[in-house]
Every structure is written in C-alpha cells, then in structure tokens.
Amino acid sequence: MPGQLATPSHTGYAVRTTTLPSAAGRPIPPDVLDRLRSIVGGDHVLVTDGDVEPFARDATPLFRARPGCVVLPATTGEVSAILRMATEHGIPVTPRGAGSNLAAATIPEHGGIVLVLTRMTALKEISGDELLAVVEAGVTTAELADACAAKGLLYAPDPGSRTVSTVAGNVAMCAGGLRGLKYGVTRNYVLGLEAVLPTGEVIRTGGRLWKDVAGYDLTRLLTGSEGTLAVITEVTVALLPMPAVARTGVAYFDSLADASRAVAGVIHDGIVPATLEFLDNRCINAVEDFAKLGLDRQAGALLLFGDDGTAEAVERSLSLMASTCERIGARGVTMARDIAESDALLTARRCSLPALARLAPITMLEDATVPRPRLAEMVDRIDAIAVRHNVVCATFGHAGDGNLHPTIVFDPDDGDARHRAEAAFSDVFDAAIELGGTITGEHGVGAAKRPYLERRLGADQMALLRRLKAAFDPAGILNPGKLGS
C-alpha cells in the first residue's frame, strides 16, 4: 500500500513524541504500595526482587525489565482504583494476561506496576440462543472454547497459544490463529468490552447486539490496542454453532514455495477452508522430535489443510484440496483417519515455535504478512535474505492468511549472530511492505516492532496514534513506550 508509506506530517499539530509518565523508572513509593495493598489485599501485591522477577519477561526473547511491583486485582472496581491512583502519581502500568505474547508487549520497560488479570476468571455466560459468551479478562482461550464446545458452540479464534493465552490478551493483541482463512481473527468475534480507562472510569463498548452503530467503534479500537489505551476487564464474544464435522489432511512438497503454490491453487478453486498451515523442513523435524507423529522428515515442506461443516461439504472440500496438492506436485498426501489424528496434527502445528527452540538457545520469530497471491514470492525472498545474512531460518505460518513466521535460531555467544538476525528481519519487513504486506499480521507491535512501525504507517498515522493515546491516557501511564508512543 504505497499510499500509506511515510510522508511528512502536514497536520501542523504539535505532536508529543515522549509520553513517559512522571514517575517512570522510579521505585514505587511506600505509601503507594500501602494503598495498593488496601485495594487488592496484601497477598496480591508482589514487591520483592524474587517475586517480581518472573514478570520481567514474556515469550519474547532478549527483552526483559523488572517491574517495581506486580498487582493482581480480582474485580473491575479494584482495577479502576489502581489506575486512578497510578494516573494521580504518574506511575507506569503494564497490563498482563498470560504473558505469552511475542512482541515484548508486556515488558515494563519503564518500571512501575505490572497489572496481572489472571485472577479474573469467571465464565459469566454462554448463551446458545444469543450465540454469545461473556467472560472475565483472565479466562484462557481454551477454557472459553471448551466450555462453548460442551454446549455445541464454536468460539472460532484459535491462536496456537490457546491453552495459555487469556481472552483479554487475545483481544488486546487481536490474535489470529489456525482458522483465520475461513473464520477471521479475534476482532471478528468481539461484540463488546468492559474496560477501565487509565483515569479510572469504567466504560462498556458495544454489547450483545449484532448491529449497533451508536458512536465511534471503540470496541474495534481497543481490539489490538496492546494494553496502551484501557484495561479490558470483561469481553463479550460472538459464537457459532459447532460444525458437524471437522477433518484434516497433510500434503508434503519439495519446497515451501511449492506448498505456497498449492495454497494459491486451493483458493483459486474457490475453496475457503478452515485451515491452511505450512511448515518447512526444519520445522517438520523439530516438531517431529517432540510429537513423534511419523511426519515425513525428508520433505521440503508440509501443508496442513482442514475444513469443517457438513459431512458432504467437508468430504468435497478435502478431496478437492488433496487433488490440487497432487496436481501442484505433492510428494504425498494423507488424510487424518479420525478426530484424534486430526487433533494430533493441529496440536503438533501449534508447537512449531517452542519445538524450534530445540535448535539453538535463541529463537527469534517474525510475523510478516503479504497478500495471498504473493506468498510464494515472499517465501523466496525470505530464503534469499537468510542466505545473504548468513542466518539459520526456519519458516512456518498460517499460509491461508498469507501470514509467515520466519524464525531465526542462533546462539547469542556466536559473535554477531544477534546483529545478523536483526539485519535479516529488517530486510524481511521491507520485503513484506514492498509486496503490499505488513510487518506484523497477528503478533503485534509491542516494544519489539515499535522501531519499525513507522515504515508501515507513515508519519501522519504515527502522529494520530499519539493523539489518540493522549486522549485516552493523559498522564501516559498505560504501557508506555509501546503503541502510541
């Protein structure tokens, strides 16, 4: 989208570039700690070095910073009291769910409070009649999906981290997953939010209605806001009836580029399947080391395809996909025999990233996304970039969404390995943008991709982001240094 590339700012507004709150980087004063304890109870304020250390990092390598304290509220009222006080004292607050994000989005780079929502775990309502569910922030994606499944309902967003990640964390990152092609991502399922502004007001955006255009769409704005605009305390999500049948198959190819061509072929045939995921040879081997499913270790790439719906529709779609793969030159195509085998394949795919950690001490992954027809081209570019920078890169991703996770593995003790990895990723971002894509499809910006954001948004949008941030958060306390800074 060349129109969105960096252009000088014409708006003439004074743009605040530093949004750091006044007490950033300072220890939390004792009277503030006392007040926090009186709000949530002494057991739910952690202050000692050892107690706060585990909150110094998330699932992103190479980023860590210790917070001044960690607070675990149990109610929306408590969240509100904490935020009001933090604004009053200019203390940074970093919201945190399960800490599974891959963008260093929960790293408290400027100290202050890490606000952990994992004690808010009520599944308040699952309604088959209204096809919606209402949950508190800290419910995990899998808990929500399982509870819905037990009532014959589908919560469609399916991030690989579903057993760990929280629903509010998914909303805050607008998480994608393994069903993106047919079902979309988290944003497509958020009907309403209860959220607390940094100044303490509790707002309810959207709600239970399928149609509601009263006001700006704040629900969408908060979705993907990465904990920089408000703290989400409750989420209302849309559900679907559970499809009667879901099936999965596997096709092996000589290269990831061939697998990409098969993806294009499938979509060209007019099929929009639930799942189209691919892994390259390094990923196949790492996953097989853990999951021991008997995957073809020699293959250059594996394409996992799956669909759900009525038995006949699924039958038709799977056999069409299988024959397309064969036509493109698959070395082999197999179908999962039953649900257990399908689940095992999907579970194995979800493990790709941690399984790659077997290869070297540091596993750095990216999230570049391109328009689907450019997928094969992007795969080739990534290969060339890896060679140019002399890095070991393994690639997997949500092929059907054009979303790639090139993952560079290295040993930090190996000279300039980290530098080479960063240089390679910088080129990957440029390549993605050149092909009309983006620097992150689903993992978000956080602290990790903040330096590259302007390449995608341009100066005018960057400035608008800052003004939006200031409107929500005048003292700049919420997750400072990330989006909107």
């Binding site: 980087g25 220890p27 952690l46 000692t48 070095d49 050892g50 107690d51 706060v52 250390e53 585990p54 909150f55 110094a56 990092r57 998330d58 699932a59 390598p61 910073a65 210790r66 917070p67 001044g68 675990l72 399960a98 800490g99 599974s100 408290p108 400027h110 100290g111 952990v116 994992t118 004690r119 775990t121 995990t140 899998a142 981290s161 057993t163 760990v164 996953v287 080391d289 853990f290 999951a291 493990c351 990233l353 941690p354 399984a355 950690a357 077997r358 001490p361 540091i362 596993t363």
Partner: protein, 366 residues
C-alpha cells in the same frame, strides 16, 4: 525499576538446559502448583525464570522467593511431558536444589530424611516392622532382581510378599541399599548418583522395582533397559509368555466387580512414559475407572507432604473427591510415597475406598 546491579554470573545450572526454555508458557496448564496459586512464580516457566536470575546473578542467593519456590515445586515433571522445546525440568530442579538447599539452607526435614535413609531405613519407620525380604545367596544375573524401595521395605512389607507370589523366580536380596532418588530430589544429587551405582553393581541383570520413583531414577542413572517398574515388567512378561501368567480371577466388592481407579506415579508417567501397563493389568482383574486426575501428582512427591503439608493436601483433594464421586472400591498406587499420601488423605476424608499397591491388588486375584 528496582533492578540490582547484576552480581557475577554463577555456574549452578547446565547452561544448555537453562537456555532451552523460551518462556512460551505451554507448561502452565499442566502444573499442579500453578493451577492452585495461579501465580507465575509457582509455574514451571516462572521457576525457570527464577533459576536464570540466580544463574545470571540478578537475584541474591538467599532470596526468599528462590528458597520458597525450590521447595514448593512438587518435582512431578508434568511440565516436561508437555514442553515442545524439550526442557529437562527434572534435571534443572535437581541442580537448583543441590545449590539452594546446601548447608544451612537445607530444610530440616529434607536433611533428616537424607541422613535417615543413609544410616538405616528402619529409622524412618521408627523401627516399626521387620523386613520382608528373602535372602538368596550370591546375585544371579539371569534372574530378575526385585528392588525394594527403602521406605517400602519397612513400611509396607506386604507389597514385597505379593511381588514374590507374582514373580516366583525373583531374587529379593535383603542387603540392598537405597537407590538415591530421595537424595537427588532433596538437594544431594552427588551422593544420590553414588548410591544408584552401588545398587546397580549389587543387582546384576534386570532390576524390577515396585516404586515408580525408584524405577525412574535408577533408569536415568543406570541407563535405559536395566530397570523395569513392576507393571512394566509384568505386562511385558505376561504378553511375551502367557504361560507365565498365573490364573487371575475377577475381584469383587459389595456384590459387584470391583471398581478400581489408579493414581499414576509422576516419575513413572512423566519420567519413563509408563501409563498403559498398570491400566491394562487392573483391567484384567476388575472394572478399571479412569480418574480425571489419574495423571496428576498426588502431592506426596518424595518428602513434599512433610515439607509442604498445606500445598500437598490441596494438590491431593481433587483426587479424593473424584474417588468418592466415582464410587471406587480400590485406588491403586504405584509408588510407596503416593501410597502413604493416599492412605492419609483417604483416612482424613473418611472415604470408603481402600488404597492398595498394584502388587497387592493382583495378589487378591490369585
């Protein structure tokens, strides 16, 4: 930020083992202590982050959280089986406790138990019961050697007798030492390895253990294949040679086929991957009922029930509720420490179910 200037890095952990974790959090739902506290510090990922801070000098060696979490971990290794990165948590925990519980930091009970096991197992049992072992002269490498867990030898002599009836040609030497597992899990892995090696020398050929914990530790120390846990041994042997299986009748209770549940031994399940065999054996003689918590730690965990009584009972309580709700007649244990934990819990909760070692259950069917 309250960051201390980093102290000098320390060499406590094997660097590669520590580097393997990428903090993805996949292990969180598997961890019993995390599911109770919901606190990152008492999760596998949080504990590994603490270990890193200790290794890299970012935390004081006497930091109270380090001390607390080294103790609060059950050592059940449920986190290991779900970790796609292949993190060897059990080994990291041993290295952690070796360091954390050195000298004056040893929890009083852990030190006492280590010493007790070394001097005489009977000391632990307060000299209550006599040994059930048969002495059979010089070790014969062609016969399976039954290894008696040192706690079990004194606390549950009936188990050893039952084993001898199930494996008539077994050699059960009386003068065996301890396998060292207790030491390894309580901060003394050097002494532990020595004990395991001595036991391996004293018992040539296949070693059959009635305790999952001992089996897994010895398997790790002596090399794969030397050691088999009882259910593993019996299942393989009876399948290979059906004539070696004694006639087994169906066990009844209250006028029906007995309803029997199982509590896996964590080390056996998570360390050795043995799960199918005990279930198959129980199903030969009774109605096997899978408890939802069958694979979760019972909270006994070596010396844990004594060192961390409160958490230990919280970890156990779902199992007791399920045993009651599913109307079990027997609850099978595969490890002496689990056995003791389950017996105490059943007694406290006044349940009808009887806790029984697998060997004793099978003996009932003879």
């Amino acid at each position: 930020m309250s960051e201390q200037p980093a102290a000098a890095p320390r060499e406590i952990f094997d660097k590669d083992l520590l580097a393997a974790c990428i903090s993805c959090g996949f292990c969180l739902p598997a961890c019993p202590t995390y599911s109770i506290t919901k606190l990152e510090n008492s999760s596998p990922r949080g504990r590994i982050t603490l270990m890193r801070a200790l290794q890299e000098g970012r935390l004081d060696e006497d930091d109270p959280t380090l001390q607390e979490q080294a103790g609060l971990c059950l050592g059940c290794r449920a986190c290991e089986t779900v970790c796609p990165a292949g993190v060897k948590y059990g080994e990291l925990l041993e290295q952690w406790r070796d360091h954390q519980w050195r000298g004056r930091h040893t929890p009083v009970l852990a030190g006492g138990l280590r010493a007790g096991v070394r001097i005489t197992p009977a000391l632990i049992a307060g000299g209550m019961v006599r040994l059930a072992a048969r002495q059979t002269g010089a070790a014969d490498p062609t016969r399976p050697h039954v290894m008696l867990g040192c706690l079990e030898r004194s606390l549950y002599p009936k188990v050893s007798k039952a084993v001898v009836r199930l494996i008539p040609e077994a050699d059960v030497p009386s003068g065996q030492g301890c396998c060292g597992a207790l030491h390894a899990h309580n901060g003394n892995s050097v002494e532990a390895a020595r004990m395991a090696a001595a036991l391996g020398d004293a018992m040539p050929g296949t070693i059959v253990s009635t305790s999952g914990g001992c089996a897994a530790y010895l398997d790790h120390q002596l090399g794969h294949g030397r050691v088999q846990e009882l259910s593993q041994f019996l299942a393989a042997r009876w399948e290979a040679d059906p004539s070696s299986m004694p006639p087994l009748r169906t066990i009844t209770s209250r006028g029906r086929t007995a309803r029997v549940g199982l509590k896996d031994s964590c080390q056996l399940r998570n360390g050795m991957g043995v799960t199918a065999q005990p279930r198959a054996l129980i199903a030969k003689v009774a109605d096997y009922i899978e408890l939802p918590s069958a694979g979760t730690c019972c909270g006994g965990a070596g010396t844990y029930s004594m060192l961390q009584p409160e958490m230990s009972q919280k970890v156990l309580s779902p199992t007791l509720e399920q045993a009651r709700d599913l109307d079990l007649d027997y609850l099978v244990s595969l490890n002496v420490v689990c056995h003791r934990q389950l017996v105490a819990g059943v007694k406290r909760a006044r349940l009808r179910v009887k806790v029984i070692h697998l060997a004793e259950l099978l003996e009932l069917a003879l």
